[in-house]
């Protein structure tokens, strides 16, 4: 049951990406192209995606987190890390360059697999390779002495 519901959650996320236009890299790149404000090609839609998503989750999280526990787990697994380290800047800085090069971030790229496009498969394979490399480096003893997240993947 929990598995079926998580499929439905992914489906709703995917429909949101499709309806919002986030699944179209051209739309994402036209948002990221601030030079387009001058030339008239800027597409501010992505700001509305962010606003809609943050508004819905801002209200929804508050309602859900009033409960003592989730439906299918014994507790809520919320990120506990608070301090700002170099990784919270370096990681997103690298991520943003990749995002700006292709117009894909992980969610829309996975949804693009369902379009059957060859480009999406190439991109997702590269994403997984990059993720594997980052996890590998995170677990190297020399690096984990420098920065030791309890869980290197925690948001």
């Amino acid at each position: 049951m929990a598995i079926l519901l998580q499929f439905a959650v992914g489906l709703v996320f995917g429909f949101g990406l499709l309806l919002s236009g986030m699944s179209d890299p051209a739309k994402v790149l036209n948002f990221l192209d601030l030079g387009g404000i001058v030339s008239g090609s800027w597409d501010p839609s992505l700001a509305f995606v962010m606003a809609g998503a943050v508004a819905a989750s801002f209200v929804g999280f508050r309602l859900v987190l009033r409960r003592s526990q989730p439906l299918f787990a014994e507790r809520f697994h919320l990120p506990t890390k608070r301090e700002l380290d170099s990784r919270i800047v370096a990681g997103p800085a690298i991520f943003g360059v990749g995002w700006g090069l292709a117009g894909f971030c992980p969610g829309p790229a996975l949804t693009a697999l369902g379009f059957g496009s060859r480009a999406a498969f190439i991109f997702v394979a590269a994403v997984l390779a990059g993720m594997w490399l980052a996890r590998f480096l995170s677990h190297l003893p020399s690096l984990s002495r420098m920065a030791t997240p309890v869980d290197p993947l925690e948001t």
Partner: protein, 142 residues
């Protein structure tokens, strides 16, 4: 460059669906709907027993356009202009950066911001800035 039209209502409603999905995942599993975190944990080493649920979530993401095509008979526009080399480089950077910085547009940009997390705010401002800069250089410095 492909011209796209401004779609404030569809984008805001689609965004709200993304937010709703994040709320549903929190209500069901108590976890953050960060797509990069979910995707990265599809790879070994496995640190918990949530693999099946993560696979189901990703299957849902992939199934969304398949179902849309089956029901509506057409898919929304999707134009991928990047060539193979750019896709590989961009994918490596997106994958590496999202794990190194503990999140992507969904984990930091949606879930983190709505939880008023300072780390997520720093991350979101950073990837927006380098995203803007990258597109500016790619489109206007050549």
């Amino acid at each position: 460059m492909t011209v796209t039209s401004f779609t404030p209502i569809a984008s805001a409603v689609g965004g709200a669906l993304i937010g709703l999905s994040a709320v549903m995942l929190m209500a069901l599993t108590g976890r953050i709907a960060g797509v990069s975190g979910i995707a990265a944990r599809l790879l070994p080493p496995y640190e918990d027993d949530q693999l099946a649920g993560r696979l189901a979530f990703v299957a849902g993401l992939v199934a969304a356009p398949v179902l849309t095509l089956a029901v509506a008979g057409q898919l929304p526009a999707q134009t991928i202009e990047a060539g193979t080399m750019t896709l590989v480089l961009a994918g490596l950077l997106v994958g590496f950066g999202s794990v190194w910085g503990n999140g992507c547009t969904s984990g930091h940009g949606v879930c983190g911001l709505s939880r008023l997390s300072l780390r997520a705010l720093v991350a979101t401002i950073t990837f927006m800035t380098t995203g803007f800069a990258t597109v500016f250089i790619a489109r206007h410095w050549s």
